[in-house]
Protein backbone atom coordinates (compact mmCIF):
# COMPACT_ATOMS: atom_id res chain seq x y z
CA UNK A 1 0.00 0.00 0.00
CA UNK A 2 2.78 2.37 0.96
CA UNK A 3 4.60 1.50 -2.24
CA UNK A 4 1.46 2.09 -4.24
CA UNK A 5 1.09 5.57 -2.76
CA UNK A 6 4.73 6.30 -3.50
CA UNK A 7 4.39 5.15 -7.10
CA UNK A 8 1.27 7.25 -7.57
CA UNK A 9 3.10 10.21 -6.07
CA UNK A 10 6.05 9.75 -8.37
CA UNK A 11 3.79 9.34 -11.39
CA UNK A 12 1.82 12.44 -10.48
CA UNK A 13 4.96 14.41 -9.80
CA UNK A 14 6.34 13.51 -13.19
CA UNK A 15 3.36 15.31 -14.68
CA UNK A 16 4.38 18.51 -13.01
CA UNK A 17 3.72 20.21 -9.74
CA UNK A 18 0.97 22.13 -8.11
CA UNK A 19 -2.19 20.03 -8.20
CA UNK A 20 -4.06 19.33 -5.01
CA UNK A 21 -3.59 15.59 -5.43
CA UNK A 22 0.18 15.88 -5.30
CA UNK A 23 -0.07 17.95 -2.17
CA UNK A 24 -2.30 15.34 -0.61
CA UNK A 25 0.20 12.54 -1.11
CA UNK A 26 3.06 14.70 0.07
CA UNK A 27 1.18 15.51 3.23
CA UNK A 28 0.23 12.00 4.12
CA UNK A 29 2.92 9.72 2.83
CA UNK A 30 6.25 11.44 2.56
CA UNK A 31 8.33 11.98 5.64
CA UNK A 32 8.98 15.57 6.38
CA UNK A 33 11.80 16.46 8.72
CA UNK A 34 9.48 18.34 11.05
CA UNK A 35 6.74 15.78 11.07
CA UNK A 36 8.44 12.44 10.57
CA UNK A 37 7.37 9.32 12.37
CA UNK A 38 9.05 6.00 11.73
CA UNK A 39 6.66 3.22 10.76
CA UNK A 40 8.16 -0.26 11.01
CA UNK A 41 7.16 -3.85 10.57
CA UNK A 42 8.53 -6.10 13.32
CA UNK A 43 11.70 -7.04 11.48
CA UNK A 44 12.45 -3.38 10.78
CA UNK A 45 11.79 -2.50 14.42
CA UNK A 46 14.21 -5.20 15.54
CA UNK A 47 16.96 -4.02 13.23
CA UNK A 48 16.30 -0.41 14.22
CA UNK A 49 16.65 -1.26 17.91
CA UNK A 50 19.80 -3.27 17.19
CA UNK A 51 21.49 -0.10 15.91
CA UNK A 52 21.03 1.54 19.31
CA UNK A 53 23.70 2.16 21.94
CA UNK A 54 24.74 -1.16 23.54
CA UNK A 55 25.78 0.61 26.75
CA UNK A 56 22.27 1.87 27.43
CA UNK A 57 19.26 0.36 29.17
CA UNK A 58 16.17 0.53 26.96
CA UNK A 59 12.60 0.75 28.16
CA UNK A 60 10.31 -0.25 25.30
CA UNK A 61 6.64 0.47 25.97
CA UNK A 62 3.93 -0.94 23.67
CA UNK A 63 0.94 1.39 23.65
CA UNK A 64 -1.73 3.06 21.52
CA UNK A 65 -3.76 6.26 21.73
CA UNK A 66 -6.95 4.17 21.94
CA UNK A 67 -5.66 2.22 24.96
CA UNK A 68 -6.77 4.10 28.08
CA UNK A 69 -4.44 2.42 30.61
CA UNK A 70 -1.53 2.99 28.19
CA UNK A 71 -2.25 6.70 27.91
CA UNK A 72 -2.58 6.90 31.69
CA UNK A 73 0.92 5.55 32.26
CA UNK A 74 2.66 7.56 29.51
CA UNK A 75 3.56 10.43 31.88
CA UNK A 76 5.49 7.95 34.06
CA UNK A 77 7.54 6.81 31.09
CA UNK A 78 8.17 10.44 30.19
CA UNK A 79 9.22 11.20 33.75
CA UNK A 80 11.54 8.18 33.76
CA UNK A 81 13.08 9.15 30.44
CA UNK A 82 13.80 12.66 31.72
CA UNK A 83 15.13 11.65 35.12
CA UNK A 84 17.33 8.75 33.98
CA UNK A 85 18.67 10.01 30.67
CA UNK A 86 21.99 10.72 32.38
CA UNK A 87 21.99 7.15 33.72
CA UNK A 88 22.07 5.75 30.19
CA UNK A 89 18.36 4.92 30.22
CA UNK A 90 16.25 5.59 27.15
CA UNK A 91 12.51 5.15 26.70
CA UNK A 92 11.09 4.22 23.30
CA UNK A 93 7.32 4.28 22.90
CA UNK A 94 6.15 1.76 20.29
CA UNK A 95 2.69 2.78 19.10
CA UNK A 96 0.30 0.11 17.87
CA UNK A 97 -2.14 2.67 16.53
CA UNK A 98 -3.87 1.63 13.34
CA UNK A 99 -1.94 2.95 10.31
CA UNK A 100 -5.02 4.74 8.98
CA UNK A 101 -5.19 6.68 12.28
CA UNK A 102 -1.59 7.87 12.31
CA UNK A 103 -2.54 11.22 10.78
CA UNK A 104 -5.92 11.62 12.43
CA UNK A 105 -5.22 10.36 15.95
CA UNK A 106 -1.57 9.61 16.70
CA UNK A 107 0.12 12.72 15.32
CA UNK A 108 -2.38 15.12 16.92
CA UNK A 109 -1.95 13.22 20.21
CA UNK A 110 1.84 13.51 20.04
CA UNK A 111 1.61 17.19 19.22
CA UNK A 112 -0.84 17.92 22.02
CA UNK A 113 1.12 16.03 24.66
CA UNK A 114 4.56 17.09 23.42
CA UNK A 115 6.13 13.73 24.26
CA UNK A 116 9.90 13.86 24.68
CA UNK A 117 10.55 10.11 24.43
CA UNK A 118 11.07 8.70 20.97
CA UNK A 119 7.87 7.37 19.39
CA UNK A 120 7.83 4.81 16.58
CA UNK A 121 4.91 2.96 15.00
CA UNK A 122 4.78 -0.82 14.71
CA UNK A 123 2.55 -1.86 11.80
CA UNK A 124 2.69 -5.62 11.41
CA UNK A 125 -0.51 -7.66 11.12
CA UNK A 126 1.17 -11.02 11.64
CA UNK A 127 1.09 -10.66 15.40
CA UNK A 128 1.04 -14.42 15.98
CA UNK A 129 4.59 -14.45 14.61
CA UNK A 130 6.04 -11.36 16.26
CA UNK A 131 4.36 -11.31 19.70
CA UNK A 132 6.25 -14.43 20.91
CA UNK A 133 9.48 -12.87 19.64
CA UNK A 134 8.99 -9.97 22.05
CA UNK A 135 8.22 -12.40 24.87
CA UNK A 136 6.96 -15.96 24.82
CA UNK A 137 4.47 -15.28 27.64
CA UNK A 138 2.89 -12.15 26.17
CA UNK A 139 -0.81 -12.73 25.45
CA UNK A 140 -0.91 -9.65 23.24
CA UNK A 141 -2.75 -7.35 25.66
CA UNK A 142 -1.43 -3.81 25.99
CA UNK A 143 0.02 -1.97 27.83
CA UNK A 144 3.16 -4.09 27.82
CA UNK A 145 6.75 -3.10 28.53
CA UNK A 146 10.14 -4.57 27.77
CA UNK A 147 13.24 -3.45 29.69
CA UNK A 148 16.68 -4.61 28.59
CA UNK A 149 20.36 -3.92 28.40
CA UNK A 150 23.30 -6.07 27.32
CA UNK A 151 23.17 -8.04 30.59
CA UNK A 152 19.52 -8.71 31.16
CA UNK A 153 15.98 -8.47 29.92
CA UNK A 154 12.53 -8.38 31.54
CA UNK A 155 9.00 -8.25 30.19
CA UNK A 156 5.87 -6.91 31.86
CA UNK A 157 2.28 -7.43 30.65
CA UNK A 158 0.82 -4.89 33.06
CA UNK A 159 0.34 -1.22 33.88
CA UNK A 160 2.85 0.77 35.91
CA UNK A 161 2.78 3.73 38.23
CA UNK A 162 5.94 5.81 38.42
CA UNK A 163 7.38 4.17 41.53
CA UNK A 164 6.88 0.65 40.21
CA UNK A 165 8.51 1.58 36.94
CA UNK A 166 11.45 3.27 38.64
CA UNK A 167 11.95 0.24 40.93
CA UNK A 168 12.19 -2.06 37.92
CA UNK A 169 14.56 0.21 36.01
CA UNK A 170 16.85 0.64 39.03
CA UNK A 171 17.59 -3.07 38.90
CA UNK A 172 19.09 -2.55 35.47
CA UNK A 173 21.38 0.35 36.24
CA UNK A 174 23.20 -0.55 39.44
Amino acid sequence: MKHMALIITIVLMSFGNGTSQINYFEETHLNRPDNSLKVFNFEELQSYLSTKDAKKTYVINFWATWCAPCVKELPYFEQLNAKYSNHNVEVILVSLDFPKQIETKLKPFLKKNALKSEVVVLDDVDSNTWIPKVNKNWSGAIPATLIYNKDKKAFYERSFNYQELETEVKQFIK
Binding site: A64, W66, C67, A68, P69, L96, F98, P99, V125, D126, S127, N128, I131, P132, N137, W138, S139, G140, A141, I142, P143, E157, R158, S159
Partner: protein
Protein backbone atom coordinates in the same frame (compact mmCIF):
# COMPACT_ATOMS: atom_id res chain seq x y z
CA UNK B 1 -10.47 -0.16 66.82
CA UNK B 2 -11.48 -3.70 66.06
CA UNK B 3 -13.43 -2.49 63.06
CA UNK B 4 -10.48 -0.47 61.79
CA UNK B 5 -8.31 -3.54 62.06
CA UNK B 6 -10.88 -5.60 60.18
CA UNK B 7 -11.08 -2.99 57.44
CA UNK B 8 -7.31 -2.91 57.19
CA UNK B 9 -7.18 -6.66 57.00
CA UNK B 10 -9.79 -6.63 54.25
CA UNK B 11 -7.81 -4.03 52.33
CA UNK B 12 -4.59 -6.02 52.68
CA UNK B 13 -6.37 -9.18 51.57
CA UNK B 14 -7.84 -7.34 48.61
CA UNK B 15 -4.48 -5.93 47.54
CA UNK B 16 -2.86 -9.33 48.00
CA UNK B 17 -5.39 -11.05 45.76
CA UNK B 18 -5.50 -8.38 43.08
CA UNK B 19 -1.83 -7.43 42.95
CA UNK B 20 -0.41 -10.91 42.94
CA UNK B 21 -2.81 -12.78 40.71
CA UNK B 22 -0.33 -14.39 38.35
CA UNK B 23 -0.69 -13.50 34.70
CA UNK B 24 -1.23 -16.42 32.37
CA UNK B 25 -3.52 -18.51 34.55
CA UNK B 26 -6.73 -19.80 33.10
CA UNK B 27 -7.42 -22.57 30.65
CA UNK B 28 -4.96 -24.38 28.51
CA UNK B 29 -5.71 -26.71 25.62
CA UNK B 30 -7.38 -29.88 26.95
CA UNK B 31 -8.94 -28.26 30.03
CA UNK B 32 -12.64 -28.49 30.76
CA UNK B 33 -14.25 -25.05 30.56
CA UNK B 34 -16.80 -23.90 33.07
CA UNK B 35 -20.36 -23.23 32.01
CA UNK B 36 -21.85 -19.85 32.88
CA UNK B 37 -25.22 -18.23 33.34
CA UNK B 38 -24.99 -14.68 32.06
CA UNK B 39 -27.50 -12.05 30.99
CA UNK B 40 -27.99 -11.63 27.26
CA UNK B 41 -28.93 -8.37 25.51
CA UNK B 42 -32.55 -9.61 25.36
CA UNK B 43 -32.67 -9.87 29.16
CA UNK B 44 -32.62 -13.69 29.22
CA UNK B 45 -29.98 -15.73 30.99
CA UNK B 46 -27.80 -17.86 28.70
CA UNK B 47 -25.73 -20.97 29.48
CA UNK B 48 -23.89 -23.38 27.22
CA UNK B 49 -26.19 -26.06 28.65
CA UNK B 50 -29.11 -24.37 26.86
CA UNK B 51 -27.69 -25.40 23.49
CA UNK B 52 -28.81 -29.03 23.51
CA UNK B 53 -27.91 -29.72 19.87
CA UNK B 54 -24.55 -27.94 19.81
CA UNK B 55 -21.38 -29.91 19.17
CA UNK B 56 -19.33 -27.12 20.68
CA UNK B 57 -18.98 -23.39 20.99
CA UNK B 58 -17.01 -20.43 19.71
CA UNK B 59 -16.73 -18.31 22.86
CA UNK B 60 -15.53 -14.78 22.03
CA UNK B 61 -14.60 -12.31 24.76
CA UNK B 62 -15.28 -9.00 23.05
CA UNK B 63 -16.67 -5.52 23.64
CA UNK B 64 -17.94 -2.35 21.95
CA UNK B 65 -15.08 -0.03 22.80
CA UNK B 66 -11.88 -1.78 21.75
CA UNK B 67 -10.84 -0.90 18.19
CA UNK B 68 -9.56 -4.44 17.61
CA UNK B 69 -12.89 -5.89 18.78
CA UNK B 70 -14.72 -3.46 16.51
CA UNK B 71 -12.47 -4.43 13.58
CA UNK B 72 -13.52 -8.03 14.10
CA UNK B 73 -17.25 -7.72 14.85
CA UNK B 74 -18.40 -8.43 11.28
CA UNK B 75 -16.10 -11.45 11.20
CA UNK B 76 -17.56 -12.73 14.50
CA UNK B 77 -21.03 -12.41 12.99
CA UNK B 78 -19.83 -14.27 9.90
CA UNK B 79 -18.47 -17.08 12.10
CA UNK B 80 -21.88 -17.49 13.74
CA UNK B 81 -23.66 -17.51 10.36
CA UNK B 82 -21.27 -20.14 9.06
CA UNK B 83 -21.02 -22.42 12.08
CA UNK B 84 -24.18 -22.11 14.23
CA UNK B 85 -26.11 -24.48 11.96
CA UNK B 86 -23.16 -26.85 11.86
CA UNK B 87 -23.22 -27.14 15.65
CA UNK B 88 -20.71 -24.48 16.69
CA UNK B 89 -22.59 -21.30 17.61
CA UNK B 90 -20.81 -18.12 18.68
CA UNK B 91 -21.34 -16.95 22.25
CA UNK B 92 -19.92 -13.47 22.83
CA UNK B 93 -19.11 -12.33 26.36
CA UNK B 94 -18.35 -8.71 27.30
CA UNK B 95 -15.79 -8.89 30.15
CA UNK B 96 -15.00 -5.22 30.91
CA UNK B 97 -15.89 -3.35 34.08
CA UNK B 98 -18.60 -1.00 32.82
CA UNK B 99 -17.80 1.58 35.51
CA UNK B 100 -14.43 1.99 33.80
CA UNK B 101 -15.87 1.61 30.29
CA UNK B 102 -19.47 2.92 30.27
CA UNK B 103 -19.43 2.43 26.49
CA UNK B 104 -19.62 -1.30 27.18
CA UNK B 105 -22.66 -1.24 29.46
CA UNK B 106 -25.79 -3.26 28.74
CA UNK B 107 -27.57 -0.39 27.00
CA UNK B 108 -24.54 0.17 24.75
CA UNK B 109 -24.23 -3.58 24.08
CA UNK B 110 -27.90 -3.69 23.04
CA UNK B 111 -27.48 -0.69 20.76
CA UNK B 112 -24.35 -2.13 19.13
CA UNK B 113 -25.92 -5.56 18.61
CA UNK B 114 -28.98 -3.97 17.05
CA UNK B 115 -26.97 -1.68 14.78
CA UNK B 116 -24.76 -4.54 13.59
CA UNK B 117 -27.53 -7.14 13.48
CA UNK B 118 -25.75 -9.65 15.71
CA UNK B 119 -27.40 -13.07 15.54
CA UNK B 120 -25.40 -14.52 18.43
CA UNK B 121 -25.90 -14.05 22.18
CA UNK B 122 -23.94 -11.06 23.53
CA UNK B 123 -23.60 -11.63 27.26
CA UNK B 124 -22.48 -9.41 30.12
CA UNK B 125 -19.86 -10.95 32.41
CA UNK B 126 -21.53 -9.27 35.37
CA UNK B 127 -19.19 -9.16 38.36
CA UNK B 128 -16.34 -10.24 36.04
CA UNK B 129 -16.38 -13.81 37.33
CA UNK B 130 -16.12 -15.77 34.09
CA UNK B 131 -13.26 -14.24 32.07
CA UNK B 132 -10.62 -14.88 34.79
CA UNK B 133 -11.57 -18.57 34.89
CA UNK B 134 -10.98 -18.78 31.15
CA UNK B 135 -7.81 -16.74 31.43
CA UNK B 136 -8.92 -14.17 28.87
CA UNK B 137 -6.66 -11.10 29.00
CA UNK B 138 -7.91 -8.98 26.15
CA UNK B 139 -10.64 -8.30 23.63
CA UNK B 140 -11.09 -10.03 21.27
CA UNK B 141 -9.96 -13.35 22.77
CA UNK B 142 -11.45 -16.59 21.41
CA UNK B 143 -11.96 -20.03 22.98
CA UNK B 144 -13.23 -22.87 20.78
CA UNK B 145 -14.81 -25.55 22.95
CA UNK B 146 -15.86 -29.07 22.00
CA UNK B 147 -18.76 -30.65 23.86
CA UNK B 148 -17.72 -33.91 25.52
CA UNK B 149 -19.20 -36.14 28.21
CA UNK B 150 -16.84 -34.55 30.75
CA UNK B 151 -17.84 -31.03 29.72
CA UNK B 152 -16.77 -28.40 27.18
CA UNK B 153 -13.18 -29.24 26.22
CA UNK B 154 -10.87 -26.33 25.32
CA UNK B 155 -9.57 -26.99 21.80
CA UNK B 156 -8.39 -23.59 20.62
CA UNK B 157 -7.32 -20.33 22.31
CA UNK B 158 -6.36 -17.11 20.60
CA UNK B 159 -7.01 -14.88 17.62
CA UNK B 160 -9.73 -15.01 14.97
CA UNK B 161 -7.32 -14.73 12.05
CA UNK B 162 -3.99 -13.21 11.07
CA UNK B 163 -5.03 -9.78 9.78
CA UNK B 164 -6.97 -7.38 12.00
CA UNK B 165 -6.70 -4.60 9.44
CA UNK B 166 -8.16 -6.23 6.38
CA UNK B 167 -10.48 -9.24 6.31
CA UNK B 168 -9.80 -9.71 2.60
CA UNK B 169 -6.04 -9.99 3.18
CA UNK B 170 -6.30 -12.78 5.78
CA UNK B 171 -4.06 -15.76 5.02
CA UNK B 172 -4.77 -17.87 8.13
CA UNK B 173 -8.31 -18.30 9.45
CA UNK B 174 -7.34 -19.75 12.82
CA UNK B 175 -10.83 -20.14 14.31
CA UNK B 176 -12.39 -21.50 11.10
CA UNK B 177 -9.52 -23.95 10.72
CA UNK B 178 -10.04 -25.12 14.30
CA UNK B 179 -13.80 -25.62 13.94
CA UNK B 180 -13.46 -27.24 10.50
CA UNK B 181 -11.00 -29.73 11.99
CA UNK B 182 -13.28 -30.50 14.94
CA UNK B 183 -16.29 -31.00 12.64
CA UNK B 184 -14.47 -33.82 10.84
CA UNK B 185 -12.95 -35.27 14.00
CA UNK B 186 -9.41 -34.07 13.33
CA UNK B 187 -6.91 -32.35 15.60
CA UNK B 188 -6.91 -28.54 15.53
CA UNK B 189 -3.94 -27.56 13.30
CA UNK B 190 -2.84 -24.51 15.32
CA UNK B 191 -4.33 -24.67 18.82
CA UNK B 192 -2.89 -21.45 20.28
CA UNK B 193 -2.30 -18.13 18.53
CA UNK B 194 -1.68 -14.59 19.65
CA UNK B 195 -2.84 -11.15 18.63
CA UNK B 196 -2.75 -7.64 20.01
CA UNK B 197 -5.86 -6.65 21.88
CA UNK B 198 -7.21 -4.28 24.50
CA UNK B 199 -6.53 -5.38 28.05
CA UNK B 200 -9.74 -6.31 29.89
CA UNK B 201 -10.73 -3.37 32.08
CA UNK B 202 -11.01 -4.26 35.78
Amino acid sequence: MKNTFKTLLAIVAFIATTAFTPVGTGYDIGDIATDFKLENIDGKMVSMADFKDAKGFIVVFTCNTCPYAVAYEDRVEALNKKYADKGYPVIAIMPNNTDVKPGDNMAAMKARAKAKGFTFPYLMDKGQKIYPQYGATKTPHVYVLEKTKKGPLVKYIGAIDDNYKDASAVTKTYVEDAVDALLVGKEVPEAKTRAIGCSIKV
